[in-house]
């Protein structure tokens, strides 16, 4: 049975020392999974993500990670990731090793991992200092001429966790909106956890097979966790809670405030349902504030043949 709670999924598939990727480009960021990993006190993780965002800031503040593999460190549209900076600049709460690429380099690493290629070529990095601080970035001459291209090695997470609008019980998963690098990160992984807003009947999936980005056969756990991406957003379901992104910018500058926040909102709750209850108690009407209007896709006819 693939359907499980987030607690079960993290307990079963995420282990100390694992390399994990919680992907989603500014959207679909599975905070629920990140919090559960903090709550289960995983240690020595290598965290991979193009844009670490607040979720990795929180996990790093909680001491889960020994290393970060990334391409852009920032609180999107707001500023810095203060916990990541504290770990890098001051070793607080523990030192953090960085392995750094450009966006294209990270994408290329996931693609190579997903496709079992020993390297992926890209035209980047030439003339910059990036290869000097990351020996994994190398250069290769084209067998067809003088062209020199950069190459990066495959990235194969032990676990990739993605958040999506919907999946069926077999794990067939559909996403619309920003696609980011979720598909590639999932194919590159040894184990895949999909967290969704809705579990739907497979007839819904089958009505639009081009919308499916992952086939059930490669999904190890399906978790039903509505609002699991808060404070990031899910296209068509809820908006980004920008107030939280701004609040985090303030409180995360202070290590004590950061730990107090983790105590209250992560360690202090049993799971995501309790987090949501607390959230609604703090701001009744939050989901109305974040609810988008309706803008439906026009249906397309796949046709019945037979």
């Amino acid at each position: 049975m693939k359907l499980m709670t987030l607690r079960e999924a993290i307990a079963t598939y995420v282990h100390d020392g694992d390399t994990i990727a919680i992907e989603g480009f500014t959207a679909f960021i599975c905070f629920a999974a990140g919090h559960e990993i903090i709550r289960q006190r995983r240690r020595d993780l290598t965290l991979c993500r193009m844009t670490p965002d607040l979720i990795y800031d929180q996990m790093i503040a909680a001491g889960c990670a020994r290393k970060l593999v990334f391409s852009y460190l920032g609180n999107p549209g707001v500023g810095s990731l203060h916990c990541v900076r504290r770990a890098v600049e001051k070793g607080v709460p523990r030192p953090l090793e960085l392995e750094e690429y450009s966006h294209f380099g990270m994408v290329a690493r996931y693609v190579a991992g997903a496709a079992r290629l020993p390297f992926f070529p890209l035209r980047s990095y030439l003339g910059t200092d990036q290869p000097k601080v990351n020996p994994c970035i190398r250069f290769l001459q084209s067998p067809y001429g003088d062209d020199l291209v950069a190459v990066v090695p495959p990235l194969n997470p032990d676990v990739t966790i993605i958040h999506a609008q919907r999946a069926d019980l077999q794990g067939n998963t559909q996403i619309w909106g920003l696609l980011g690098v979720q598909k590639e990160a999932a194919f590159a992984a040894k184990r895949v956890i999909v967290v969704v807003e809705e579990i739907v009947d497979e007839a819904v999936i089958r009505s639009d097979p081009n919308r499916t980005i992952l086939p059930g056969m490669m999904v190890d756990a399906v978790v039903h966790q509505p609002y699991g991406a808060h404070p990031s957003y899910v296209q068509g379901y809820y908006d980004r809670d920008n107030q939280f992104y701004l609040a985090w910018d303030r409180l995360s500058r202070d290590p004590a405030l950061t730990q107090a926040w983790l105590e209250e909102w992560v360690y202090g709750v049993k799971g995501w349902e309790e987090y949501l209850t607390k959230l609604e108690a703090q701001e009744p009407g939050i989901w109305q504030r974040l609810a988008p209007g309706e803008a439906f896709s026009r249906p397309v006819n796949y046709g019945v043949y037979g």
Binding site: E202, P209, T212, P215, G303, G306
Partner: protein, 256 residues
Amino acid sequence: MADYSPAEMMIVASARALAGKRVVFVGVGLPNIACNLARRTVAPDLELVYEAGVFGARPARLPLSIGDPTLVSGSTLVCSMADLFLYYLQGGRIEVAFVGAAQIDRFGNINTTVIGSYTQPKARLPGSGGACEIAIHAKELFVIVRLSRRAFVERIDFCTSAGHLTGKPGERTALGMPGLGPQLVVTDKAIFTFDKETGEMILSSVHPGVTVEEVQAEVGWPLRVAPHLEVTQPPSAEELRLIREELDPTGVYGRE
């Protein structure tokens, strides 16, 4: 015992070989019917991946080609060729694949490119399609081909898809091929497996009424015969019913 055609015997033997498998890469024709038969008998959880990039197809009719629109409607996922070859096939997600062959040699190397010389061919065949990489990446390769001296040759005219190469142990691994290579050849007269060490083809089962001599007569090299040669279990009444009534009711593939 019901009467059955050689094609029906091939379909049934192929289906049985899928017992317990999860993900099969399939073209239309006999493999398609074999896989659908396996789903209804020995491999209920079998996921069919069609070469055109379709998963979980629920065809409302017998598909006319690997790209039939009936495979798309109501399937669970349709992806591009780039995704299919990069992430599914090369990505190592395919457990078993079926391919055909114009010529096959003692070590399961396959020709689907030319008969005669490449530049002055006697017959120009279809070429690789996806077979070359399927033979490298699928964990197991099943070949479906009619038994004939034209097909089972000592030396193939062109190697389109790698089998067990020259038969040296470990040769595939040394070349970095993740798949095990050909594991089974199903024909209209017999079934062959391969020596785990050398990759040499072994006659492991003859279909009812077929003798080893008849098989040898159609094979262009001195055939190794399994110590415990079996006689293929003929199709059961239920297997035949499924083929004739549900999977191929108009007899396109099964009645030859």
